[in-house]
Symmetry: C2
Subunit: 341 residues, 2 copies
DNA sequence: CCATTCAGTGCAAACGTTTGCCCAAATAAA
DNA sequence: TTTATTTGGGCAAACGTTTGCACTGAATGG
């Protein structure tokens, strides 16, 4: 069951190794007939190029690396699934690394991935990351990069994001229209793009509805809700205000679920005493008690598109100069947790 | 920013390439002093061996492949996270493939992974798989394999599983002790190990409690709940029986959530008209309405242990003959969905 | 009819390691 | 002293590809 090599084909067909190699690659220097001959033989004998040898020669691995914060996060798990599905079809393999929201770990993962000579990278930044030089370096060295979800403009390349501002605005508007006047916002680290965009949408919607934007109604969780205590601290600060909010808009999957849990633990009724709505990709929000109003992101789609763009970048012959920023629509799903009281 | 190679070190230190290689590997033929010299230089200049070259020579890649049904499944996402965490520490990279419960896809993923010359494989079988010859072949060729969760005895190697029988028994016992007499079981494909074990536990508990085991109370979903319709069909069959069950024990994450959704859709109150409890790794079951009684598996732990065993296998000098079957405890978490009426 | 061109193919070096074998010097045994 | 043995290290082949260059024979142009 030893793999057949180009040499074997050459021997069998009385050709030289180089001819076989070129025939397989479809080089113009080889006659149609020879090409067919070689191809047929290769096919018949299930020839697979040795990737290590190919990699050694031309520094390609047909692997794409993924750098993100946490695999079990339902949003990212779906993104990975989307990535894997297009990679599979294009014969790429996917290597996933998680940084647990640590910038240091992000850098080490990156080193690891480039050491493995991945052909390109799909990146969603950690909440801690403020310095993008490690990405910039790689990019300048010509490694194709695509950012998704948590992006940066510090590197000029493709971006795939959800309509964070739009999603935030629509849920804020919805809360306002349901009669809530003091809408707080618990969000992730201020460093990352999605936070800024979501705050912007939240702020805009407040203004549209004639509600004040209050700095003290915005709470940041530097670890994006990875630690429950952090979310608890943010929530408790809000609850202990002299004029506590009557609704909370949460900016991420984990924050939303954390707040849900914490409010219940504290015996605060939803939405009676506190309305709750936020970004979440949990796939059965209607089963929660109360059912949860969510802003859903097209996670699988995001992974798909990001992977497609990356592979396109990898396989493009000439240098790509024209980078896109793809914005995917979010969807507001109204349920009981944001109902009027 | 070109990577430094062994040649560069050799040149700089006035040594031969082979000496450098051996010094780095700690071969006994090289003097302590030379080894130190080489190591220091390598360290200082951030030498990283070229993996393609290494792979080409000795067919190792320091990659481990993972084959499972679906990445976004919360159980498997956690398993992957566990795998990744130990792989990271041991300098392995993780390549994940998903088969969507298709045996054909499983085989193709396997080909892909071996083509990439992964050093070992972590496998959880698809629900469709009945023929294990593709695994047996690989195993006979000496590729280290570790099965987890959905395992088979057809290949003699390590297995890491949850205490499926125990978990099933404890939840069944719990339902019986809460007064339910007609406890049905909706489970996955009969081909996979976990199904058999869970049925066994269910059956044993019924007998312990003096309840009859009825074949018609056991419904199989061949795709493991991947399709909602399949679950719906199973559930509806139960509901339309002349003597319908008063409780349902579901055998997997997705089945549990599907049943929950479907019962709600059909206006059947839980646990009043139908109690529900089952295996699930959803991490906020207390937030559901009603809160959900679950059997939880140590998913992260399972991934960790499986990966550790695999790497041990990969790095073992002599052939391992003594294979383990590790059984991890499950945890029954009692909540409202299985309460007495 | 010779010079030029060109399609089609082969040769060999290179990519960065690993490793079997050989060799020199030093040490130990005789 | 001579002969083994050990120690430390180098040479070169090999892993499976890719690719610049050279070569051959035929076709084309003059």
């Amino acid at each position: 069951m030893e793999q057949i090599t180009i040499k074997d084909i050459a021997k069998a067909l009385q050709l030289s190794v180089s001819t076989v190699s070129r025939a397989l690659k479809g080089s113009y220097k080889i006659s149609e007939s020879t090409q067919r001959l070689v191809r047929d033989y290769a096919e018949k004998h299930n020839y697979k190029p040795n990737l290590n040898a190919q990699g050694l020669k031309n520094k390609k691995s047909r692997c794409i690396g993924v750098a993100l914060c946490s695999i079990p996060n339902s949003f990212f798990a779906e993104v990975i699934s989307g990535i894997e599905s297009v990679a599979y079809n294009k014969d790429y393999l996917v290597i996933v690394t998680q940084n647990f929201e640590s910038c240091e770990r992000e850098v080490r993962n990156l080193e690891n991935l480039t050491w493995r000579s991945v052909d390109g990278l799909l990146i969603s930044l950690s909440t801690e990351t403020e310095d993008y030089s490690h990405f910039q370096q790689l990019h300048e060295q010509g490694l194709p990069l695509v950012f998704f979800d948590r992006v940066t403009d510090a590197v000029r390349t493709h971006q795939v994001v959800a309509d964070n501002a739009g999603g935030a605005a629509s849920v804020t508007r919805h809360l306002a229209d349901n009669g809530y006047r003091r809408i707080a916002h618990i969000t992730s680290s201020p460093h990352i793009s999605i936070t800024k965009e979501r705050i912007a949408g939240y702020r805009q919607a407040l203004e549209e509805r004639g509600l004040p934007f209050r700095e003290d109604y915005v709470k940041y969780c530097l670890h994006g809700g990875m630690l429950m205590e952090e979310t608890a601290a943010a929530l408790d600060e809000l609850l202990q205000m002299t004029e506590p909010p009557d609704a909370i808009f949460t900016a991420s999957d984990r924050l939303t679920m954390n707040c849900f849990t914490l409010l219940r633990q504290r015996g605060i009724s939803i939405p009676g005493q506190m309305a709750l709505a936020g970004f979440s990709n949990f796939n059965s929000p209607e089963l929660l008690n109360p059912s949860l109003t969510t802003v859903k992101q097209p996670a699988f789609e995001m992974g798909k598109i990001a992977a497609e763009l990356l592979i396109q970048l990898i396989e493009s012959k000439r240098e790509v100069k024209d980078f896109q920023r793809i914005v995917l629509p979010t969807e507001l799903e109204v349920r009981a947790s944001s109902g009027c009281f």
